[in-house]
């Protein structure tokens, strides 16, 4: 797809060429997304998933606090996360302790990729130089420069350190610099600070962004693996509200303190 980039400069000038090139470089009959002034696909709007990925990324029947759902792992083909043996045991332990130990149950930042599929709307903003993804969930901010801004060496955080680029009509976000304290879902699927996430966002229909994330973590998994799910455009709201989860917990008389929420 990278060889489509020089062509795009030309196509910004000649609209008809845009259509023929993007059809030629993407799937036959591919959807032609709305575009910004700089010719990049317009991903802006308020989006949200409609799946159970927040509770379990793998195929799962229902269990306490977890709605049943189809998995979102598309690679490996069996839909199972390729854990190293010790990590599979750790995930089972996490699952058993999910009610108190899930970082999202403690109203912590959900990390990447989970921020993209917690059950709260998020809004995507774009300029030619950067992408900003803002979630209602505990006012989470993802800032994604579309440049090769040098990273701070050794920097770790809850949300990671992202850099973005366009691969044809797909926004690719590469994120490292995690602190290893977030989970991937409520079922205790997890990663270490060595996690590297490559996300791919493609607007495939007027109301759909195809969202894909490949996760690589040599400390935890036997090989890279990939999830894919649609993000749906909200047409019933024109702005984000807020979800101040830990303040609501205080209001409810159940303050979340340190690592151990009170019962």
């Amino acid at each position: 797809m990278t060889n489509a980039r020089p062509a795009r400069l030309v196509t910004a000038v000649i609209a008809m060429t845009v259509i023929s090139i993007s059809i030629a470089s993407a799937q036959p009959g591919a959807y032609e997304p709305p575009r910004l002034r700089d010719g990049k696909p317009d991903l802006q709007g308020i989006w949200q998933v409609r799946n159970t990925a927040n509770w379990d990324l793998e195929h799962h029947a229902g269990s306490y606090g977890i709605p049943a759902g189809l998995g979102v792992v598309i690679d490996p083909a069996d839909g199972a996360i390729p854990y190293q043996p010790w990590a599979a045991e750790r995930q089972q332990q996490n699952f058993n302790e999910r009610e108190t130990e899930d970082p999202v149950a403690k109203c912590y930042i959900a990390g990447v990729p989970r921020t993209m599929y917690v059950p709260h709307p998020l809004q995507i903003f774009q300029t030619p130089a950067e992408v900003v993804i803002l979630s209602e969930y505990v006012h989470t901010t993802r800032w994604i420069p579309l440049t090769t801004l040098p990273r701070y060496e050794g920097y770790e955080s809850w949300i990671g350190d992202s850099r973005g680029r366009w691969d044809g009509d797909t926004l690719v976000i590469e994120t490292v610099g995690f602190n290893g304290q977030t989970w991937l879902d409520h079922s205790g699927n997890f990663h270490s600070s060595a996690l590297r996430v490559v996300e791919r966002l493609t607007r495939t229909e007027p109301d759909v962004i195809s969202y894909e994330a490949t996760l690589e973590d040599p400390n935890v998994f036997t090989r890279p693996w990939t999830i894919r799910m649609p993000l749906y455009l909200h047409r019933d709201r024109d702005r984000l509200l807020e979800n101040e989860c830990y303040l609501y917990a205080e209001d409810a008389g159940r303050p979340i303190i340190g690592q151990h929420p009170e019962p």
Binding site: Q44, P103, T141, R151, S157, R239, L241, E250, I256
Partner: protein, 283 residues
């Protein structure tokens, strides 16, 4: 690879920057620039704004994009002039109207403020609550302004908080919705960004000294670039249940031009252990 800035060092620097040490402040700025102390800054900046032609975005509005920091003269601790104290810098005050630099409280509200002042553990910010308006612009550390078409975004380092300001003429949310982040509706008046806030839940404080708002408060903020690296920030606060009249504050934002700078994450609630010491009563 850049080297990671030490967060504690940055906190120290931030404290120094907000501390009202005029000689220090004057050392780091163009001598022709407006002074940072609020009252003279306000007068000087309004004059500069008349002639400065700001850079513009592709849709023709002033381009505020980049990293900024508030030169807030100790106001994170106290909006009113204050001598400071243990671990608290002095404040030269940021109220430019009334001219006595005091918030024009009604007697009962002033009594409440004086009571809150002794109960800093109730400060919502100590509970990692979003700081609301105008307080968010007085938090230590800086913020990034981003301008996608039709919006102005403030992406704050402090508590990974943000403001989304639409400039498309929409109206406020229904009154029944009360928020920690008040509903922001913006518009451009000439080269000034004007932001009107409503739907406040009334639980935010204005600073760490117990100055406070109610759910009846309305805030109008005005942002005007007065030179390439300075924004005049002004906010008028109105609340007939607390104050005898509307009052106005002003400070300078200065641009951070450090090469390859980007904001670190400031997670507040994650791993929070203060509540067990300061009490977990909802603020």
């Amino acid at each position: 690879m850049g080297s990671i800035p030490s967060h504690s060092l940055r906190a120290l620097v931030a404290t120094c920057l907000v501390a009202p040490v005029p000689s220090h402040a004057q050392e780091v700025v163009d001598p022709a620039a407006c002074p940072f102390e609020s009252s003279p800054f306000h007068v000087c900046a309004l004059e500069r704004a008349k002639t400065f032609d700001p850079p513009r975005t592709a849709d023709g509005v002033p381009d505020f994009q980049g990293y900024w920091r508030g030169q807030s003269n100790g106001a994170a601790y106290d909006f009113e002039p204050s001598p400071g104290g243990f671990a608290v810098p002095a404040s030269t005050g940021v109220v430019v109207d009334p001219s006595d630099k005091r918030i024009p409280y009604q007697p009962e509200a002033l009594a409440r403020r004086n009571e809150l002042r002794t109960q800093g553990f109730l400060d919502p910010q100590a509970h990692c609550a979003p700081s609301g308006a105008p307080r968010k612009n007085f938090t230590n550390f800086g913020w990034r302004i981003v301008q996608p078409d039709g919006y102005v975004l403030f992406v704050y380092e402090s508590m990974h908080d943000y403001r989304i300001i639409p400039t498309d003429g929409r109206s406020h949310l229904p009154e029944a919705i009360k928020l920690w982040h008040p509903d922001a509706v913006g518009r451009w008046e000439g080269d000034t960004l004007v932001v009107d806030y409503a739907n406040m839940n009334g639980r935010n404080w204005l600073d760490m000294s117990g100055n406070f708002q109610s759910e009846h408060s309305r805030v109008v903020e005005r942002y005007t670039m007065i030179d390439a690296n300075t924004i005049h920030f002004e906010a008028t606060v109105e609340d007939p249940t607390l104050y005898t009249r509307p009052w106005t504050l002003a400070i300078a934002f200065t641009r951070n031009t450090e090469a390859n700078f980007y904001q670190l994450e400031y997670a507040c609630h994650e791993g929070e252990r203060d509540l067990q010491h300061i009490g977990a009563a909802a603020p």
